[in-house]
């Protein structure tokens, strides 16, 4: 496995929305989860993660709340809002369209 890839521009929002769609998570857990699921292929830099979280919150797609973690420490948990859920559906659809199209181009054998 090579060096972890930097994220494709614009896909970070989609990944964050997807990862917190099951349950609310704090920033560190979001980054960790993305890393795990992608089998360490994707590494979210903190410098991109937190601005993205604040941007998504500003868009009212996610909602932040301070809650205790399992270790008893306070952390800021992010949860999907109703608008965020709709946005996730929209971005998923556009992502499958885009990746499908790219695959079609890549598989062409001339």
């Amino acid at each position: 496995m090579g060096k972890p890839h930097d994220l494709v521009q614009g896909t970070l929002d989609l990944l964050i929305l997807k990862v917190i769609s099951l349950e609310p998570k704090h920033g560190w857990a979001i980054a960790k989860r993305i890393q795990q699921i992608s089998q360490h292929a994707l590494q979210v830099q903190q410098g991109s993660l937190y601005p993205a979280l604040y941007r998504l919150e500003q868009q009212a797609w996610i909602k932040a709340e301070w809650k205790k973690t399992e270790t008893g420490r306070l952390a800021k948990f992010y949860a999907l809002t109703a608008a965020g859920r709709r946005q996730l559906q929209k971005e998923l659809a556009s992502w499958s369209r885009l990746s499908g199209a790219i695959n079609l181009v890549m598989r062409t054998t001339e």
């Binding site: 704090h26 920033g27 560190w28 830099q45 903190q46 410098g47 937190y50 601005p51 604040y54 941007r55 919150e57 500003q58 868009q59 009212a60 301070w66 420490r73 306070l74 952390a75 800021k76 809002t81 608008a83």
Partner: protein, 263 residues
């Protein structure tokens, strides 16, 4: 309600600045601590684990700066800084400030005054359905210069025989003496021909005919000479347009049907 949430967050970042900053600080510290814990679990020493966590996090200051940008208050912040800087500069150089303020005030005042005059005299259309068809007809001296009062007989001839004009009306400046219960007063007014006041029968012009900006208007019968015109005061309309614009420039006004000009 998304716009409401956005507005709420922006307001919060503006008003509870310290609170929001502390929250961001706590959130980033939590992140670094969690990373440190994980590094220790992976077998690093406490010190090495912390350094490694800080290294992967990158510059905390830069992250904060980027987060602040998404608050949407950076522009407002800069604006506030600029305004305060400007006010400080004003206080340091009061002479320049006064000169600049006076210059601006005079400039704005002069522009407003000139625009008001130009607007009233040139841009505001005259109160006719087709003001562009309105022409001013006058007589000149033999060399084609100046503007000579029109002899009333000529006016009647023009009106009756010129086929290029739909209607013609004449007017002249005049002073009237007004008496009543109070002191008698002399007011400047216009005498206008009856048709000008009523508007032409064709109905192309508004029924009120001319609305002149003079302080008083009167009508006269269109008889061959000015001497025989009899003044009949009907009313004293208040000036609808001070200055009167083009309609008060003098001579006889003819309403032109075509664009040919009669000299």
């Amino acid at each position: 309600m998304r716009w409401f949430d956005t507005l709420r967050l922006t307001t919060r970042s503006l008003l509870l600045r310290n609170h929001v900053e502390n929250e961001l600080e706590a959130e980033l510290r939590f992140h670094i601590d969690r990373q440190t814990d994980e590094n220790i679990r992976a077998g690093m020493s406490a010190e090495a684990a912390r350094l490694s966590a800080l290294r992967t996090t990158g510059s905390v200051m830069r992250i904060k700066e980027q987060c602040r940008e998404t608050f949407g208050v950076r522009l407002l912040d800069q604006l506030r800084q600029d305004v305060r800087y400007a006010l400080r500069s004003f206080r340091r150089t009061p002479g320049f400030t006064v000169v600049a303020a006076v210059t601006l005030a005079l400039g704005i005042g002069a522009t407003t005054a000139i625009f008001s005059a130009v607007n009233a005299a040139l841009m505001k259309p005259l109160p006719f359905t087709s003001p562009e068809q309105l022409v001013n007809i006058r007589e000149t001296d033999r060399r084609g210069r100046g503007s000579v009062s029109v002899f009333s007989g000529n006016f009647v001839e023009w009106r009756n025989r010129a086929s290029s004009f739909q209607e013609a009306a004449a007017w002249r400046l005049e002073y009237f003496n007004v008496t009543g219960n109070d002191e008698p007063e002399q007011v400047q007014g216009l005498r206008v021909s009856e048709r000008a006041r009523r508007g032409p029968p064709s109905g192309r012009f508004p029924r009120g005919g001319l609305s002149l900006g003079a302080r008083a208007t009167n009508t006269f019968e269109e008889k061959p000479t000015w001497n025989h015109f009899s003044a009949r005061f009907n009313s004293f309309p208040t000036p609808s347009r001070p200055g009167g614009g083009r309609s008060a420039m003098g001579g006889a006004s003819l309403f032109r049907r075509t664009r040919r000009c009669l000299r």
